[in-house]
Subunit: 235 residues, 2 copies
DNA sequence: CGGCCTCTTGATGTATGTCAAAGGGTGTGG
DNA sequence: CCACACCCTTTGACATACATCAAGAGGCCG
């Protein structure tokens, strides 16, 4: 029953955290050089192709992950088999926090685009967190961020008309980004994020394209008309 | 603009944590007797009437709260003024965790029934958490619990038909309870929890009553037909 | 080239939103 | 103590956004 994901094929080497390009913004940003000497367990990197699962709901969670590049969806299922995407995680985000509590993973984590992640043994993070206040604080901040995201998905992406939801999702994708260009998901995934059907997602996106709220500059790269989308999202 | 709640009238005394009836299940369950001697700041108790706010979104969060009895809703607002209830908290639940990070509160917290809470200065909890691994672990567990709840509200209460959502909400209210009787909320609140209108909530509850899925034993106390509600919730 | 998958679009049905009004309960002031 | 106002629930009539079912178009790969 409990199918487990094999990451063997996705392995792409051991990480060098001390010289990581993302070090100032990731989980370990608060660590000192000396702390890294206490890390004896290997921290591995993995590369995932679109659609590849990182872990599945119910798997024994012995690892946390940091996203280096790319994007993953966190998916939950209802008893009737329908699925709902409850969050997406992107560069510098952490996933698998529940492993710190010996929990099983709560979601399927599946790559949406080509994605690279670093993998940390939960035991290691637990031990470092016990003695290192900065990491401890960083962990709480990560948990709170996930919670804020979860709440926002409920209020922004599961409330209002389909057009409002799509508009809010699009705006969310480019928020805090330097460019207002972004790639889109499959219509099926968009539907699962917004609680609407694939067809409704497709119709809405198609309509936005016709109204030039959305312009495809390169294949699957869309430039957004932010002011008008924002107007749409709010009323 | 930022209206702050005055709890002056709700004050009902200082708590005695060491002899608290809930001590084995609350945030401080991991503390030893000796730890309590380090608590010099007062831990106050408050009693809230239905509809009374405990704090408002945007307030400077300097306190965490534990619910002793009763129930509160956590409410978020959209720019257009519509509101969404993102979670409810009940006996032994913690709210205001964001105050540990110097964040402002993310929601309005409003009593649904008569409610008693204990209030802890965030500074106190931060300090105890730094030196006490048990409390540290308990905090992480609380955060994870809130996150799991948030995800469940999205998948269970914001997905499917109105009847499914109402059924799932009702089942949730009696889960892990000794009795399958429970009080109900106003139809407006139910709507805000499920992402449907007040009228739809009302119609659905009225229909459930007619079908005896819901029997009012005492004013606003309902006995649930759990097996049939469960059947409804799933398909 | 054929098969498969996703996106799009159309036709139709229906659940839910919207607007409106009536009934019942509760509290307040005369 | 009654009368009135107010609020919440319920119900009805109607409108509509979205789901559902179905089919065609375009892209990708074996």
């Amino acid at each position: 029953m409990t199918k487990t994901v094999s990451l063997r094929e996705a392995w792409s080497g051991e990480a060098n955290c001390l010289h990581c390009a993302l070090r100032t913004s990731v989980l370990f940003s608060g660590l000192q050089e000396a702390d890294f000497e206490h890390i004896h367990e290997p921290i591995d990197q993995f590369a995932l192709k679109p659609g590849a699962p990182l872990y599945l709901a119910g798997d024994t969670g012995e690892y946390l992950f940091t996203v280096r590049t790319g994007m993953l969806k966190l998916v939950q299922y209802l008893p009737d088999g329908s699925q709902r995407i409850v969050r997406i995680v992107r560069s510098t985000d952490v996933l698998g926090l529940e492993s710190l509590l010996d929990d099983r993973y709560q979601h399927d984590a599946v790559a949406l685009h080509a994605t690279e992640v670093c993998r940390f043994p939960a035991r290691l993070v637990r031990e470092l967190g016990r003695v290192n206040p900065a990491l401890h604080h960083e962990l709480m901040a990560r948990w709170q961020r996930a919670l804020t995201e979860a709440d926002a998905w409920l209020t922004e992406l599961s409330t209002g008309s389909a057009r409002q939801r799509v508009a809010r999702l699009l705006l969310r994708l480019v928020r805090d980004r330097e460019t207002s260009e972004c790639p889109l998901f499959s219509r099926e995934d968009m539907g699962a994020m917004l609680g609407v059907t694939t067809e409704t997602a497709s119709r809405t996106i198609a309509e936005f394209k016709r109204q030039s709220l959305l312009v495809e500059t390169t294949p699957n790269l869309f430039l957004l008309d932010i002011p008008n989308l924002r107007r749409l999202a709010e009323d």
